[in-house]
Symmetry: C2
Subunit: 203 residues, 2 copies
């Protein structure tokens, strides 16, 4: 898959409010259709039908289904980071921030399961965007963990490896308890996980 943005000679962001609304409508329709049917089965006609626009209008805003898909992956990354940043903004220390961040993430994925599907499908449809998604997360996460070690808020250890390990935990717990099981007691799950993370498994 080539990068459609590289082939586009003009700015892809509409300048008018109406243009921005139409672009947003296409993204939301694409999220619903691709998140539900999967990338291969979802057609641009499905997306424009759901958005209530002519098929030609799609191409004013996006060059291809690939491009709209990649935009959704980037959007999910921004949304998730913004949501977590807000959840941990007032945390007095790193362990509290970790706990609040995990709780916010588990709640968040349950509210946007179609967008979460799209990130997972990116592993196959746009592997570079998928790696970028998690690498960007891991970088910020690792910086926070390294700073917490310097501040003496957590024990010393490799920040990058810890970041990937903790992200992995959150991803799978989010899928299992945030998406599969809609009624899970997320507070209890976070309590259990944090008991293990803070104090360890060793008796």
């Amino acid at each position: 898959m080539t990068d459609p943005a590289a082939r586009r000679p003009v700015a892809s962001r509409p300048r008018t409010r109406r243009g921005q609304d139409t672009r947003e409508g296409i993204l939301r329709a694409a999220e619903a259709v691709i998140g539900d049917l999967g990338f291969a089965a979802a057609s641009i006609a499905d997306i424009t039908r759901r958005a209530g626009i002519a098929q030609g209008t799609f191409y004013i805003y996006f060059q291809s289904k690939d491009e709209v898909f990649r935009e959704l992956v980037i959007e999910m990354g921004k949304l998730t980071r913004a949501h977590l940043a807000e959840a941990v903004a007032d945390a007095p220390d790193r362990l509290t921030a970790e706990r609040r961040g995990l709780r916010a993430f588990l709640g968040f994925v349950g509210t946007r399961p179609t967008l979460y599907n799209i990130v997972m499908e990116a592993r196959f449809v746009a592997p570079d965007a998928y790696r970028q998604y998690y690498t960007t997360f891991a970088r910020g996460y690792g910086q926070n963990l390294a700073a917490a070690v310097r501040e003496g808020e957590i024990r010393s250890g490799d920040a990058e490896i810890r970041a990937w390990a903790l992200m992995g935990m959150a991803i799978t717990l989010g899928e299992r308890f945030g998406i599969w099981e809609g009624e899970a007691d997320l507070d209890r799950i976070v309590d259990e996980v944090f008991d293990m993370l803070e104090r360890g498994l060793k008796p």
Copy 2:
């Protein structure tokens, strides 16, 4: 996706050695082709061409591409569990078993990236098989953790939630360090993760 096995009136396992070899050849060709191209793009013609058999021969052993795909997911589960069971067989206690199991898993996924791709793609192609795959793992894992709590080998805590958290860690670390980065120092990664898991992050 319906369950093809439910529509098959006769046993699907060949009785002769030659039949078993042909079925195994189809599975290995399907692993390579689907793991490489993805489920949608891979055709039965691609699989039979790679296996070096006539297309009609495929249907003696499998009813559909769906069926061979599901068989690969089940096979990956069995292979992984057998590999881990062997790795931890002589472990004197649960924490040692956890450490050896994670090390074995990270090494294993790197040796079978195509089969790992297939499990990940099952999330979209055969969601019930995907859930079954991880649920089966989590059940056995949780039983081991619960037994270790009873034996006093680890601190008490919810075995099911811990099992999913630890599986999630292993999945993401396996993808990041076992597949993306072929040359990662897996022993160091396991040491770092286990320092966190055994003793916790709290100073």
